[in-house]
Symmetry: D3
Subunit: 277 residues, 6 copies
């Protein structure tokens, strides 16, 4: 799959960055033929994501390393829980360690934070989705981590979804003209989402033929009113100022989707380690 | 410079990830010949880092875009402050926006957090340094952000510094043997750092010829005693469990360096935006 | 733009294929400092497409070559008409000639054939669209040539549009289940198109929530009936067995889109040449 | 072999173009663990070519897919004939389908058309050869398809054969000077071919030491006279205005080679399909 | 030109190898804005080659560096002579220095040695040619250095010339069968060279239709006899055991070409340096 | 390991250079299914290096080729000794032959020359080290060949070691300032080496805190005096004008390291061959 090739290239660069022409410490201190067992383990509780990336790191360093996960992406784990069993040449395990953990700690961090948002809106019907505010080069992995956490994905880039914002509306000469232009130019399998910042724009967006409305940075009460006015004629997404304190109230407005930038741009790394045995 | 080529390739991949075969919204809604002015601005105070990456993003989308920074990496800014002035085709500014911000928000986050650690140890002589716990693929940028924040860099990878940890010591048959092996194998411009987790190991590490001692996860009082015993015969670095509450006390132990993983793995993104004018 | 980088890489490979370590004939026979003027000209009438690719070929061989088109993509031309004026080192013009023509002859062929289909359905409201039956590696250029000919594009790949075919329906356990699965998994800016091969399926597809129906290889009378039954509740696309004899009748059935594979897989090359002056 | 690496890279790009970040339809509708059998089959009669490319497509999508051809490149097949048996994960078969067919339909089209030219000159001693008028990026595959059809290849690019055309002759100061320059500059394992457009030039080209004469766009009677004048002192190739109506008469002039551009630039795609079973 | 792209890629890798993430010494010790002048100069006499590679090194490090050669490839120089004037940022001159010199010292070494062989056979009519015994990755540059030294090139690889050796003859079932097979398979602009190790084979090779005979490791007297027997019916190349002591005698046998492996595999580096001014 | 990927890429380019679109001779003359055995053998005595590169060449041409070395890197061999046994398709063995030998002949040449220097200083305590004067693109292989010959490596590039030369000292405003700047900027695991060309500078370099002194082009007597003055307070390296005649005398001065450029820039190729059996 294309994704596999992309991951393989990403991991290749990450390893080059850390290994350069070689690991001078392990080459010096460890016999070439020394085998070892090791485990990846959690130092705090969380949700697992990124197994494929970690596995690819070990595979590229040495395909002979055995990588046996005890859980799957999306599973929860406790502090101290063993996530993956490893066996192979000690030099290679140590060469891969930091790069594998750098992937896992970030992706588990994202999945764990996403799970908290998902749980906060449980029962409301609102779906937690991500944004394009991802780490440059890691978007596919971070979006998979959001799914592992129980969220859903928004569009993957500027190429597979139409989202008309204020800048586009002004440049196109009005909301109606912008939607019409999008309809004429984009292929017929793409829906059209329009950003709406005032209640007054809701009706115009619907009349223009928008399939989805994005309520951006709107007060909760206003959002509820917007949802009422839409009345099922389009999907509704909320964004802006979403955090764990506010998300439940936003969800109760009846929006279909809540997009949360901090899932990917500010999730703290989860504390993981590799231990030789 | 090699770094320039590396940055160019990194930005190229980040843009491909977001643009794919093209920005369907802007292509539809904006006239091809529409020019615009824009600004990158801060929504919260911080320390600037990542200008070169942001500039490269705009340059790759269209070399004709004017990119005029008002500050330099390492400068502080206030909420609402204008960081960069931009001018160019509106389509191209919008195509570059998200990718440029994704770089900047992360790197400013790192620089801003680093600055807080640096200020916390001011006057102690201790130097705040980073670790290898960086985002896969972004290490050089994140290490530059640490410098922008006032910290210094540790080794860049496994290839340009020797750090002997417990695993190496066990595998080599003891601390003395490990240091000797490293001395015999690595080239003569590399120093040797040895991880020490107990006071009892300090003297052995010095006797073995270690140039630097890494005190890992040691209680503060024990660290102070370790520094006293070393007595200037080697450099001393502290790591493990360092946060903004503990860092000053660690610094006052007299260690030379304090390495802080969360500078790069858990700094929250700084809130930045691009506004068309 | 990402497309620019993609084109640059495509042209680079095309030139390598033809030039290898160098043009042995021109290097031997032409003085290095010989300048020349040349023209690209048409030997038969048609519609222009592919200018950007041809320009990139000459630019990569030597950025000092002047490339001055007399027409734009989408313009028609007569037999014998001059399309582009060129000037530069004779060796470089000849090194670029074949590769530039190989791009142009194919893309003009596609645009010219598309124009004939577009003219055949003029006045019916039906839109001619392309398919994924493109030359491996040239899809973006061939889709641009379809636009130059007056057609519109269908989805660009498997990643930016949902098209549920019989195989998917069977595997998912029925049409309704397939649409539901697609709705649950894909992001909310993608519409869902369902292939329908019998009239009996039209109502089920609509009930399942399909946004677009693909009538594949249906007799014209049946297509007309299908359009009537849909009654505007979804978009309708026709495909299969479309040629210049049948396309007008299909269009008159009232379908919104007619997709034509042969636009890209079987358009004969247009006869073009480069002449030194 | 270098050719293998080139094919692998070509297929990689073709798959990326179609799959991007993933096949949204199959991922949604098909269970990850669903296996299937399928066949590639012909909808019209023809000559097989491109098996290696098709196999590489399936292999890259998933090396576990079984790809079992029933024929070999160069074999003829009837309408409805089964060409390849396939088995593997259903998602992966569908992800590979279009890209594999895009290669095969084009290459079989070339082989089938070539076979018709070869049959048209049977018994004359003339050899059908291809030109450099190939699809950018696919030259090696298209030249292999010509061989599968029974034709032979001309030079592969500007680097492995010397062909002196009018432009070279003028620039070099005459035919004799051009041949002499080529002899002095190119390595000693390359022959020299010279384009001859008038009978009057035949003797001069021979005197200059040309190894091969290219009779370009010459009337058939003139060609026959040229062959008579050469009298075996050089090889003779005909080109220009060759089609299925004219090729036999040209062959009967006694030329050694007839080069046909449309073999590769205008062969219509052969109609093939993949059916799940 | 394809060669330009190849050189650019080769230089990029050479610089990455030396610079990695950066030049730690110059970054530390030299102010970023310090400009300097410098010269490349010879410490021993020789023949210049490799200017384009050296220029590309400086250009990639910083396009603003002025690179002004005082001589051209193929020119001779004395010990102490200034070859190139340079001006630019001091950090960048030093970053490029070693890589530029590594190219130049090797290529000047090859040109200088070639010149000695060419002078040794002056007046005999024999041409000194190179072999495929070149440094992996540097073949095009080394073959250009041979031309700078006054030699000519043999084929560039296995793809642009036919050379039938003993292994091929045995496998093909005899010399005649091997030549016939080559004639039937290779395109019609390639000559056929056959290795001949005994006088007895000369007549058979000619009868089989060989265009060129390679006399490998033959005693000088035997070579002279072989040339006599060939009598101008084919070109003759000598190889094996050629050095500066034997080359003149071989040339006087009347062979057309003498191929010398050590031109490229064993030429000692010429002593060059860069001096800041 | 990163090194493995680097080697794989290097070999890929070397094979492309030689094979291009294919080996026209073997394809024509050898049946596709002909198997053969072969041996790599030495025509002169030496020290083995480069086995991994040679193996990678054969592996890339065809992974089914059996490659069985009889010796290991660092072993000595006699003239006529068999180094590697090979078995596989005859076409593939011949396609790989030249590229594999081009690696081996150069790397064995380096190992063999290094061994002579190492033997020349046996018993003195001085260590023979290499320099950055390596073939562009081959540095890691050539440094491994130096180790195979019994030498040690100096820094791998400008990024993993600090060496302050005259240019740096002048630009930094004196030796003391240069060392201080290096200490402040580089990470704390790098030592600082300073070039010293006069006895008068020895004390200043030590006072500035240099860890290593490089005595460049100093007369032997002066070197001995420098070593005496250093008195163990720093490591001492000698360079400049080192050859097999002078190296023993230099070693007896008591320096710790002697760096020899010609190990890598001027070692003549060792004469090796591949013979089919």
């Amino acid at each position: 799959m294309a994704g596999d090739r992309w991951l393989s290239e990403l991991v290749r660069r990450a390893l080059e960055e850390d290994l350069g022409p070689g690991d001078v410490t392990s080459t010096a201190c460890l016999p070439a033929d020394l085998s070892a067992r090791a485990r990846l383990e959690a130092r705090e509780p969380g949700v697992l994501a990124g197994l494929a990336a970690a596995e690819e790191v070990f595979r590229q360093v040495n395909p002979a390393i055995a990588f046996r996960p005890r859980l799957r992406d999306g599973d929860t784990f406790a502090a101290g829980e063993r996530l993956v069993d490893l066996a192979g040449p000690a030099r290679d395990l140590l060469a891969a360690e930091r790069t594998a953990l750098n992937f896992l700690q970030r992706l588990c961090g994202i999945a764990t934070l996403t799970r908290r948002y998902v749980e906060a809106v449980a029962g409301t019907g609102a779906v937690i989705v991500d944004t394009r505010k991802t780490t440059p080069g890691l978007r596919l992995l971070e979006k998979a981590a959001v799914r592992a956490g129980g969220g859903q994905n928004h569009r993957f880039g500027l190429y597979d979804g139409i989202l008309i914002k204020d800048n586009h509306i002004v440049a196109a000469g009005g909301l109606r003209a912008a939607v019409k232009a999008a309809r004429a130019s984009a292929h017929h399998l793409l829906k059209i989402e329009v950003e709406v910042t005032r209640l007054a724009d809701v009706e115009e967006a619907l009349a223009a033929g928008a399939d989805v409305l994005l309520l951006d940075n709107m007060p909760v009460a206003e959002m509820a009113e917007a949802v009422r006015r839409v009345g099922g004629r389009a999907l509704v997404e909320a964004s802006g100022g979403v955090n764990l304190e506010t998300v439940a109230a936003i969800a109760r407005c009846g929006v279909n989707f809540i997009s949360v930038g901090r899932l990917t741009h500010s999730a703290p790394a989860l504390d993981l380690s590799m231990e030789l045995e």
